[in-house]
């Protein structure tokens, strides 16, 4: 029997840009994490409300710490943003497959909005393995940009904003082209539209991390099963969130 559950203590909380928080959790359950791109599933409150856990990507981790970055979009994230240092959260950790295939020469990590966080630890690991890494981060506008400096410390980093207020005007695809970024593998997380566009542009050599509304996060409910080309289905929470571009069914 393994164990994927533990109480984690909030040890830091910082508002990066409006409504976007970075939070560091401390606790032994961090040790269950095995790969960048995995996620944790957080019970927001002791009480029955909100009822379901909230899945969050792991932005960075070590044996005792998990860093996440989340945006306040509803009740659960609102409550989470109001937690105090020292508060404890019941977490399931080390969920999902994560990015496990880091074999390549030149990698580009592509994050869109709240898809940026899991790219951070991935980029760190790739750099550590000696891979040449470039980062492309897409946001709506300059005011939404976070973690630019953090990525710049790791690797060459390009920004795309929809309104052109910073970097390339347009999507991450526009930034990829404008900056003629070369890569033999890409790794990405972001809004579904962005992932779909990437799959269509680069169908052969990418790993994409998907989101789905989840009942459990650990394979029990079939709430997150999506159709793929290679199998009848994959559960985003177990056989995902990371899928290979070759198996993704666009709008699937």
């Amino acid at each position: 029997m393994g164990n994927y559950q533990g109480m984690m203590t909030i040890v830091s909380r910082k508002e990066l840009v409006k409504d976007v928080y970075e939070m560091v959790l401390e606790g032994d359950a961090a040790s269950f994490i095995q790969a960048p791109g995995q996620f944790i599933n957080i019970k927001i409150n002791d009480s029955l409300q909100p009822y379901l856990r909230r899945p969050m990507s792991i932005c960075d981790y070590d044996q005792h710490h998990i860093k996440m970055i989340f945006k306040v979009v509803g009740e659960g994230t609102k409550i989470l943003s109001e937690k105090k240092i020292g508060d404890q959260l019941d977490c399931l950790t080390g969920l999902g497959n994560g990015f496990v295939d880091l074999e390549c020469q030149k990698a580009v990590v592509i994050g869109g909005g709240l898809g940026v966080p899991p790219m951070y630890k991935l980029a760190k690991d790739l750099v550590e393995k000696g891979v040449k890494v470039t980062a492309v981060l897409g946001f709506n506008s300059q005011n939404d940009v976070f973690y630019k400096e953090e990525f710049e410390k790791l690797c060459p980093t390009y920004i795309a904003t929809m309104d052109g207020s910073l970097g390339t005007k347009g999507t991450v695809l526009d930034a990829l082209k404008e900056n003629q970024i070369e890569f033999d593998k890409y790794y990405t997380c972001g809004p579904e539209k962005m992932l779909d566009a990437l799959v269509m542009a680069y169908p052969h050599n990418g790993y994409l991390s998907f989101e789905a509304r989840m009942g459990c996060g650990f394979g029990a409910c079939m709430g997150c099963s999506c159709q793929v080309k290679t199998k009848p289905y994959k559960r985003i929470c177990v056989e995902g969130p990371v899928l290979h571009s070759s198996e993704v069914i666009v709008n699937g």
Binding site: Y51, L52, R53, R213, G215, C221, M222, C224, P232
Partner: protein, 305 residues
């Protein structure tokens, strides 16, 4: 340590706590969390004759103290369940399981039941005539007493194991449904399935669940489940496995007071993978505190009122 052992048709259980169908996969997923032999029994994910992918995503939404789902009976089909899923479970679980059967035509139920009831690990069948998330079929059986009786009778005719029928709460008269399936030969009743509900996205106006409606379950439906179990157990003489919103040992005991002979725990397993062992422990503690030595002393305790 109160005696928690209960015997029901086809099931000799060390305690009355059973994970509910659809919230426990085929059981083995939970073996990474705890020793699943702690459980009284388990209800397998709804199984159909043919493999089903189920409904498009999103399949999940939330409500106050509960969740909505519209999985649409995703499952690999009866043969894969028997040959693959149950084989994965075999090394991890020694007691009998309850196989849950979904379908959209009587023949499907019959054929699936025929096969599953031969499996050595299966102690009993549970007919899901109440899945609100499958178009054509499913819920019609669960809202029409004649059709419910018909499918019950047909399955009883072929099953080598006791047959439980799972009732839908989305009816005007749950007692009428219960009497119909009892009369048709059901060995037991399991209840309740989910209440049909909906949520909407404020920005787009679109239903959050792709299937539009979903099944609402969790603590929010607990008072409705208690009422229905109370009404049904006053009316029938076959045992009832009560479920709907059980999230603690306290809830489980209240459900048994209402009349249930055993309980099933549904979506609380999803929120807390350790829900069932916790509930078993809490039941024990509460009975000890109340000075009750045998769980049978609380089953249907409300009947006198």
């Amino acid at each position: 340590m109160a005696n928690l052992r209960v015997k029901l048709p086809g099931l000799d259980m060390k305690n009355p706590v059973i994970p509910a169908s659809g919230t426990f996969g085929f059981g083995y997923e939970f073996a990474k969390f705890y020793d699943i032999n702690l459980l009284g029994s388990m209800m397998l994910k709804g199984t159909t004759l043919e493999p089903r992918y189920g409904n498009p995503l999103p399949r999940i939404a939330e409500g106050p103290s509960g969740m909505l789902n519209a999985i649409g009976l995703q499952n690999p089909g009866v043969d894969a369940v028997m040959n693959e899923e149950l084989e994965k479970l075999r090394p991890l679980y020694t007691d009998k399981v309850i196989a849950n059967i979904g379908g959209s035509a009587i023949d499907d139920y019959v054929e699936t039941a025929k096969r599953l009831s031969t499996h050595d690990m299966v102690g009993a069948l549970e007919l899901n005539i109440s899945c609100p998330n499958v178009h054509c079929g499913g819920i019609q059986f669960g809202t029409n007493p004649q059709m419910a009786a018909e499918v019950t009778r047909a399955v009883k005719a072929v099953s080598q194991k006791p047959v439980y029928v799972k009732l839908s709460p989305n009816v005007t008269d749950i007692v009428e449904m219960a009497l119909a399936v009892e009369e048709a030969g059901a060995d037991g009743i399991t209840m309740i399935n989910t209440l049909v509900g909906m949520r909407f996205d404020l920005k787009t106006g679109r239903p959050i669940i792709a299937n539009k409606t979903g099944g609402y379950s969790g603590p929010a439906i607990f008072p409705v489940a208690l009422r229905m179990v109370y009404q049904v157990t006053q009316a029938v003489s076959i045992p009832v496995i009560g479920m709907g919103g059980i999230a603690s040992g306290r809830d489980a005991i209240e459900m048994m007071i209402a009349g249930a002979s055993a309980v099933a725990v549904g979506c609380q397993n999803l929120v807390d993978p350790y829900a069932c062992p916790k509930i078993i422990q809490e039941m024990n503690d509460i009975l000890d505190e109340m000075g009750i030595e045998d769980i049978h002393d609380i089953i249907g305790k409300s009947r006198q009122y």
